[in-house]
Amino acid sequence: MSDISYIQQQDNEARFSDYIALLKPRVMSLVVFTAFVGLVVAPNPVHPFVGFVAILFIALGGGASGALNMWYDADIDRIMRRTRSRPIPAGKVSEREALGFGLALSGISCVMLALATNIFSGLFLAFTIFFYVVIYTMWLKRATPQNIVIGGAAGAFPPMIGWAVATGGISIESIAMFLLVFLWTPPHFWSLALFMKSDYHEAKVPMLTVTHGREHTRKNILVYTLILAPLAVGTGFTSIGGPLYLATAIVMNALFIKGAIEIHGRTEVQAEADKYAVEKRFFYFSLVYLFAHFAALLAEEGLSHIGLGVW
């Protein structure tokens, strides 16, 4: 190693924040929120400290899978504009370091969750990490344009894990929360792919927009939105739902379907003319949509605590 390359390497040494970035903190916020709701709405009360620790280790498990994803996808991340500044492509953390970091955190989070709560939750978290890293990242992401659909399951497991922390199992309510996130993921990500087109294309990731065209993607957004809507509203009739949730779900799904119909009815020329304004609006609204549903579930739980629960 020459003096210059040594100095360059030292200049690029990672800060603590680079290791935090490996955990994909923004994705983690969704994991924390949905897992928290899953835990709180479950019928069995959990000690606040145990609940806090459970959420922390579910989040850490999610972060660990993010680090493993960055390790495996470093080659793609170097190409895509959106991901080029991540710690590995930026040269701050080596691939081996990210692998070790992700594996260690995976082990710690699963074992600690199992010890703090129950074995089932720990195993469920381990399965979620396996699903995201092996099934989605290593296999489906580069193999099929349906990658987002099946991979979305990994992001949909946290509320089920939260529920499992409290109950030690699975039930119709936790499956409903899973399906809510699972079916929400395709329209959410495909609307992003519509206005981030060049990135996926250059990285040769078989995103639906690349393999089947943008018109087909628009149609798929509408189809998944139409499947999602009755399910999201139907959750209101389970034990975790109620009139407040139902009202929220009806309004949110009506707006979501309206947005999906608008996207479906547009041509590429129209979209380029207004710089994908409708697609961008739909993407940002999808974030509000998911937050509103889980916040409504949380509110229903709060209402039932003060004796205002309807069912």
């Binding site: 990672a14 000690h47 400290f49 620790v53 709560t117």
Partner: protein
């Protein structure tokens, strides 16, 4: 001559070391807190899987 000013390298390393220190202290606090909660609430709990120990459960039909 003594080095009086930290280089950027030292700042970065300090950030990592301090961060790791905080994480380790947090981990110790979590394990301690969990222990307290488990001991306070877990008189009928068995060590590793936190399931009620059969021998400690009240017998069925037993008078209170």
């Amino acid at each position: 001559m003594a080095i009086t000013r930290d280089s950027d390298l030292h700042t970065r390393r300090f950030s990592r070391n301090a961060g790791l220190g905080v994480v380790l202290l947090g981990f110790v606090a979590i394990v301690f807190g969990l222990t307290v909660v488990k001991v306070e609430r877990g008189s009928t709990m068995e060590a590793y899987d936190h399931q009620p120990r059969t021998s400690l459960l009240p017998a069925e039909g037993a008078q209170k």
